[in-house]
Symmetry: C2
């Protein structure tokens, strides 16, 4: 019921997510959250016993939000090309005009310094994205929309890595168009031209 508490928890998660996407896990502190939300650092430990707990929930939420969005894509269209386009549009939105990175890409870079439970959620995030892309790519190849060599698993891994890399460079150069054109070229590279 505690609408106040629930909203505090929610506010903490939202602020932490932004900090994590801009600065990374290692470069934001409970004090940062305290300043941002206006709650003492000791109180943060009430909602999240440890920073690892917070980090873990951050990734889980991020993953589930993206899963929900892909479900909406699946419901809206069955065309593989359009599905991929919409997926890319979602990632682009997350960049916030080149001011943020994907949480997965950020935590992927910080991977070796993350607490174990956070690491495994990060891997699950990647695997989830890739498995959705596997279906899209496999269906697209079947329908003649896509063309690529190797199995769909490898193509999905390569595609997702490309998109993550493009989000990273877009943020570093503060230039969203770097992501847009890279995603565009990746999509065309998969397309069947004949």
């Amino acid at each position: 019921m505690p609408a106040a508490s629930d909203s505090t928890r929610e506010a903490l998660l939202n602020a932490a997510r932004e900090l994590a996407q801009t600065r990374g896990y290692n470069a934001f502190s409970f004090r940062d959250l305290s300043d941002l939300i206006g709650v003492k650092t000791a109180s943060i430990h009430y909602h999240f016993p440890t920073k690892a707990d917070l980090g873990r929930e951050l990734v889980i939420r991020y993953r589930e939000q993206l899963a929900e969005l892909t479900r909406q894509i699946d419901a809206r269209t069955s065309d593989p090309g359009e599905r991929l386009d919409r997926f890319i549009a979602i990632l682009r939105t997350g960049l916030k005009k080149g001011t943020r990175m994907c949480l997965g890409g950020m935590f992927g870079a910080e991977y070796s310094t993350l607490p174990g439970p956070v690491q495994s959620e990060v891997r699950t995030f990647f695997e989830g994205c890739e498995s959705w892309l596997v279906n899209v790519l496999a269906a697209g190849r079947e329908s003649g929309r896509f063309r690529f060599e190797g199995n769909p698993e490898q193509a999905a891994q390569a595609l997702f890595a490309s998109l993550e890399g493009a989000m990273m460079t877009a943020r570093a150069f503060h230039d969203e168009s770097r992501f847009v054109t890279a995603a565009d070229l990746a999509t065309r590279a998969l397309s069947n031209h004949e």
Copy 2:
């Protein structure tokens, strides 16, 4: 004369580079270096007044080493396809079997928290890699070896982002083959099939 000092400085740079490629700039400390090299943290400041100075030199060195290697590629072969293959092989070697990331990718993710002077070196690193790739791709399209839409600059940016992303995921999954197959697919996507 300063054979001892020069080797200490060298040892610090090598250790710092490994730490930076595995843990990142924000996640290694002068104490880590102290423990690794066996010199007190205060003495590290003798060689590098601030951590930013160390970080800056790290990126400059990394960039110059890669520039030297691309020069060797250019001297050895003029075939665009082979040049790209060799470039990819250099990046693969740097992964150390999936235990390290590219320094550029790591610092790219940490970008917003890096000291200004380090940031600008990181950008220069990216621009250097991309401009070398621009030449390779442009020559390859000219010769009929490569085929891609848009200008070579965009293609080079997208390709390099793909490779960086693939290095990131390869490290997270401790699986070098993720990079190898992704690089392979990226190369094939650029190839002219007819």
